[in-house]
Assembly symmetry: C3
Homo-oligomer: 114 residues x 3
């Protein structure tokens, strides 16, 4: 089965398509200094990446959400709720984990159908 | 490829079927206050969800186990060992992560064939 | 769809093949006491496992990297960069998480095409 990669550098590809499944790299955002703003930024990046492989948020299969501080769960969740398509939400897992740089408060990894 | 979702609310779906692969949301349990009891509760939920999409534990592909305290690894593992089908265990990753609420001691995310 | 498992014990399988997708268990290494050496060990194990199912590192779809201490990110990344095939890198997520035993500094979970 063919593998198609997008936005590939010497470390990772931002999206890897395998048949009708696309794996995105974990997305972070430096658009804002709070979780709500960063979540908005991350979800915008996910929209763009899914569009780039002919997919969209209604075709998400799973999302893994890493929060630098789990006490920000509800702030992240408010932004998420406004963004996910009603009736077409992915499976989801949310846990706390320190991220690659201290300014990052949320990282989201998505698998989708394309 | 068609996407079929089960137990969908405004945030997530508990199971998302894509072709012959099903992605479950991370499962937690408030059945007990110790890791062994919560693991039992989580595995029971996974059994029910897999059944709900025509799958079963012998068809699990991967499991990611998040423990709020990694020192409870062996307590979780004892319950896991009694539950997983000999000769048909999934790939597995176990790490420590704080979970969505402090009462949760273990969360398990499964991908299976259906 | 058939499921084919490799290196299965009573807890997990090191690799589970489902159609043209293979799920590997999270890999750790006790070859060295520093992150660079352990990363090298882990990547060597991944090479061997992928070979065992007729795949290879150019066919990786996603990698999730767990570091016991996120401040070792660049040491891990240097080894990773030398190993991943230019132009064929997987999607990647890197977070901090305590691992199953304190001597483990890095764990990597891979999904690949085979």
């Amino acid at each position: 089965m063919q593998i198609d990669r997008k936005d590939t550098n010497d470390i990772m590809s931002q999206a890897v398509v395998h048949g009708e499944t696309v794996y995105l790299s974990g997305q972070v955002s430096s658009d804002a200094s709070d979780v709500a703003g960063q979540t908005q930024g991350v979800l915008g990046k996910i929209d763009a990446m899914l569009a780039n492989v002919g997919s969209q948020k209604t075709r998400m299969l799973s999302a893994t959400i890493y929060l630098a501080d789990i006490s920000t769960f509800s702030e992240m969740n408010e932004v998420w709720k406004k963004w996910v398509p009603v009736g077409a939400c992915p499976a989801r897992t949310t846990v706390e984990a320190k991220l690659a740089a201290p300014q990052y408060l949320v990282e989201i990894t998505v698998i989708a159908s394309c």
